[in-house]
Symmetry: C2
Subunit: 250 residues, 2 copies
């Protein structure tokens, strides 16, 4: 029995999300089918995070177990040969039997990208959310500052969340200007609630529009009321950037 940790990238546009669903093209089922073809036996894959339909990944991590005698250094090539063009294996490593892609993750980083120009770039449109708005980046940064730290993020999670404990730690919440009118919101944390990055991004956009006082973010956190935070922005602007299995470096 070989336990394998694999880092993958995908263009989420044409996937109905990470998680297997009957009759839908998902990342998990596409990986499991490819592994099934290669190993000629059913393989179950577990991801570090279940990204929603339309969400992308540059460094999602998954694990699986197999009896197949494929040498470790061949997995990447063999899998990429079978996988569709919008899903790629970046690297593979052997891990101990106890490793778990989701439970062992210490922190993850996400990036939410906005194209606010009148005519969004045709070549990156699948990976950015288009909002024709003037955004004050300094106000967005002020608002972001209130989110860093350990908080109850109830106000920043979908009402559909089933988890009880909504306390999470954000290590980073930064607003980067990638080009004139192209803005990325980068968040890193020890865990993320359902829709949390998309609601944080929607709230920072409201601060940037002048609709929300940046300092109000502190009150919104304390109020734990979803309706006071910003809108959930669309999935297409969101990318899971990386997953780490060592504690946050500071």
């Amino acid at each position: 029995m070989q336990k394998v940790k694999m880092t993958i990238a995908y263009d989420g546009t044409d996937f109905a999300g990470y998680q297997r669903q009957p009759g839908r093209r998902t990342v998990q089922s596409t990986l499991e089918e490819a592994l099934g073809r290669i190993t000629a036996s059913p393989v179950s894959v577990t991801g570090a995070g279940r990204t929603d339909a339309g969400v992308h990944a540059r460094g999602q991590v998954v694990h699986f177990e197999t009896e197949a005698g494929v040498p470790l250094e061949r997995w990447t090539r063999v899998l990429n040969h079978v996988l569709p063009q919008d899903l790629a294996v970046l690297s593979v490593e052997a891990v101990p039997k106890t490793f778990h892609a989701r439970y062992d993750a210490c922190w993850k980083r996400y990036r939410y990208t906005l194209d606010t120009r009148p005519v969004p770039d045709v070549f990156t449109r699948r990976y950015r959310t288009h909002l024709t708005l003037g955004l004050d980046v300094e106000r967005m940064r002020q608002a972001a500052g209130y989110l860093v730290g350990t908080h109850d993020f109830s106000a920043f999670s979908s009402a559909r969340t089933t988890v009880k404990d909504k306390v999470r730690t954000l290590y980073q919440c930064e607003v980067e200007v990638l080009a004139d009118g192209v803005i990325a919101i980068v968040t890193a944390g020890n865990g993320f609630l359902y829709h949390m990055v998309r609601i944080i991004s929607g709230t920072l956009v409201e601060a940037g529009m002048g609709k929300l006082d940046p300092a109000a973010v502190s009150d919104i956190l304390q109020g734990r009321d979803r309706s006071r935070a910003g809108k959930t922005l669309p999935a297409q602007g969101l990318t899971m950037v990386e997953v780490h299995y060592e504690p946050w470096p500071e």
Copy 2:
């Protein structure tokens, strides 16, 4: 009557090329349908170049005439509202009645992009050709040097070309390294024969692989024999970058 020059960008992946064809989704027909909806009358669009199926554009130029009283500054917004996400109008200007997007073009620039890494980037895969090859960029640059200037490019055009005069001037033929393993071949010239950029790129790749002596490019030009040049590389790596209506600056 208003004559309009329009600069457009498109992701060529899902278009059957620029030119109108019955029952196919093409750039020309998509533009003409959009203009027809806006002006409520048939509009014919002429492009500077007829890009093939799968070829992209960052700065294709087209012209059309209309009786519609749409103010010039509104065309961009009105059209982008109607056009699909993979086709965008970048700018619009009024031109004299005599202007012709194809006949008046002085020079065009194309970019052919290769991703030679073992695992190509998932997010740019639609715009690059994936070749898992070690390429010697210096050899490619030497080969490119022989192509600059005024030559009969018969050896670098598809056998399907119908034009008689195959003499063209290349002002630029450069090989850029965009990132480790990502190579762009940039060509500018006063005119391009059918498949010319893709055959030039295929020939430079053979020079980079060591399969072709860079100096042989000079003989290939003189021989005017298509079979001696390199393969026609796939359309997906090719982008029409810009079209100019003023002479090349030097």
